[in-house]
């Protein structure tokens, strides 16, 4: 086959990808980086400097907020994994045929509505005069109304809820590909449920676990609605700060710097997690 022809074909095929990534991902981030280097020195006057980054590191408020956001996101990720894994295992390994498809589909339920509506639902449920509090009073567990909203636990509930799909789906996919006979072989050779989970199931599911965790972590970190709507007076979220810089402070320069820091620091966390688990991005996500 003529190599000139196929080379042209390759270039044509690569064009959409290149245009997409270049104009919508790479250049905008470069642009955002450049804006973040602009220091505002007066009305319509800017200088190039690292001042915006300095603000982040000099003001404990900002990096505390980042640390808090990262910490909460990691907690949400771990919780999602712990809650989702048994379910994924159940779907992948303990059901067949129609039941499996149905349960799998049911995992997609939260995805049927926007995050906004889901969060709205949680607000109706959790508020002091909401469904949960009223129900608990009704059955006599509570004596008076209790506020379940506006705290970190509410944020966690919302985050885990929103993320569950992105954990369960890759887990089900990888667990599905685990040959049942490997588990049987483990038992046949005298293994206990626990040792089989540890030595066979989890190592096999590792790519799914890692890809699920990365997506959930990044989604939580980048979440805006859930912490804003469910969180309380102390519940700062880093994306909220970024949004504020852009929208209520009109400070694009600082906002860009924050955005870039969020991207950089979170990538660093993901990178470390990948290193620790011995996985690679292409291997885990590209399936």
């Amino acid at each position: 086959m003529a190599s000139d022809k196929s080379r042209l074909g390759l270039i044509l095929l690569m064009a959409p990808l290149a245009i997409w990534l270049m104009t919508l991902i790479v250049l905008p981030h470069v642009g955002m980086f450049l804006v973040s280097l602009q220091e505002k020195v007066g009305i319509r006057q800017y200088e190039t400097s690292l001042a915006n980054y300095a603000v982040f590191f000099n003001e404990p408020l900002y990096w505390n907020t980042f640390a808090r956001t990262a910490y909460m996101s990691i907690t949400a990720t771990v919780l999602t994994l712990l809650i989702g894994f048994p379910v994924a295992y159940y779907i992948a390994k303990l059901t067949r045929g129609r039941t499996k498809t149905t349960l799998f589909l049911m995992c997609l339920i939260p995805f049927w509505v926007s995050e906004l509506v889901r969060t709205f639902g949680w607000m109706i449920l959790l508020r002091e005069t909401g469904v949960l509090s009223s129900f608990l009073q009704y059955i006599g567990v509570l004596a008076g109304p209790v506020e379940f909203l506006y705290n970190d636990a509410a944020i966690m509930t919302g985050l885990v809820y929103t993320s569950m799909l992105f954990m369960v789906v890759p887990l089900v996919t990888t667990l599905d590909s685990l040959d049942d006979s490997l588990i049987e072989a483990g038992y046949d050779l005298g293994g206990s449920s626990f040792s089989i989970l540890r030595e066979i199931v989890i190592p096999h599911a590792m790519p799914g676990i890692v890809s699920g965790c990365i997506v959930v972590f990044m989604l939580s970190l980048g979440n805006y609605l859930t912490p804003i709507l469910l969180g309380g007076k102390d519940s700062l979220w880093f994306t909220g700060l970024i949004y504020d810089q852009f929208i209520t402070r009109f400070n694009w320069e600082l906002g860009s710097a924050f955005g870039f820091l969020l991207l950089g620091l979170s990538s660093l966390i993901v990178f470390l997690a990948l290193k620790l688990s011995g996985q690679s991005l292409g291997k885990t996500m590209g399936r």
Binding site: W20, G121, S193, S267, G286
Partner: protein, 281 residues
């Protein structure tokens, strides 16, 4: 069932109860939202004031039902418009990408692949902001240079479409690549061997094979586009899609009409979800 692994019935029942509880947790907020769509009160919360259809069909001012709320109807239209474009573009580019990554080897492929995955993990707000900042600066430069207006580069539907497209394409690429990987290239060779041209083989054999994945990708794209908030929020102009309108409502003065819209969305999504599942067979 891994039938071979005997478990105590106590364990089995606990496990089943846990899974049931899990699905209850998944359904709970949606059920709540749906139920309160019928509450005969102007606020979407307890107490329960009785049943009403007003939030769907009401015609009078505070109790204006979805079907008479022009702004909401218009924003559904806007969302649909955006979703169609996004899913069309995403499937188109996703298909090209799938061919590129599955069929070709070239220098820098691994790097490009990672880059292609990146939008999956860039926070939506950052994606929106970076596109906003970038397009604004381009527009400013162009406008200064030419004295013309470049409205397409300012917040508005075009940017919303591009912003959603920028990360939904990754999903489309993954879905379509997965199927293309399963494609037996000898089918294409067989077509060539039987006299088809190269494009003919792709059109008659490969694309029909990919069709279910393309449909699934399109459905996923539509759903994601409809529900996207973070990226859209930063790029929206005067035509707000549904989620943004609902967000504004939530801040400005919501009635159970929001629950009613949500209920409709849930129904439509459920139908779409089932359809895509069936087409995957």
């Amino acid at each position: 069932m891994i039938t071979g692994i005997p478990q105590s019935s106590g364990f089995k029942w606990t496990y089943r109860a846990y899974v049931t509880l899990f699905f209850f947790y998944l359904a709970l907020p949606l059920i709540t939202v749906c139920v309160f769509a019928f509450n005969d009160s102007v606020f979407p919360s307890l107490p329960w004031d009785g049943f009403t259809w007003d939030w769907f069909f009401g015609t009078e001012a505070p109790r204006l039902g979805v079907f008479h709320e022009r702004p909401i109807l218009r924003s559904i239209g806007t969302s649909a418009f955006v979703a169609v474009w996004v899913s069309g573009l995403a499937v188109l580019v996703g298909t090209c990408n799938a061919f590129l990554f599955v069929r070709h080897d070239f220098a820098g492929k691994d790097f490009l692949y990672i880059l292609m995955l990146l939008p999956l993990i860039i926070p939506g707000i950052i994606l929106g902001i970076s596109i906003l900042v970038f397009s604004s600066s381009i527009a400013n430069t162009l406008e200064e240079a030419t004295g013309l207006w470049f409205d397409g580069l300012r917040p508005g539907l075009i940017l919303v479409i591009l912003g959603q497209f920028s990360f939904i394409t990754t999903f489309a690429t993954l879905v379509i690549s997965a199927r293309l990987q399963k494609f037996d290239t000898s089918l294409e060779e067989a077509a060539l061997n039987l006299g088809a041209t190269k494009w003919g083989a792709i059109r008659q054999v490969t694309l029909p094979f990919l069709l279910p994945a393309m449909i699934a990708a399109a459905v996923v794209a539509v759903l994601m586009s409809f529900e996207n908030f973070n990226t859209t929020l930063m790029l929206v102009g005067s035509d707000a899609p549904l989620t943004v309108t609902m967000f504004d409502r939530l801040k400005q003065g919501s009635t159970p009409v929001l629950n009613a819209v949500s209920l409709l969305l849930i129904v439509v999504s459920a139908i779409l979800g089932l359809a895509s599942l069936l087409s995957r067979r």
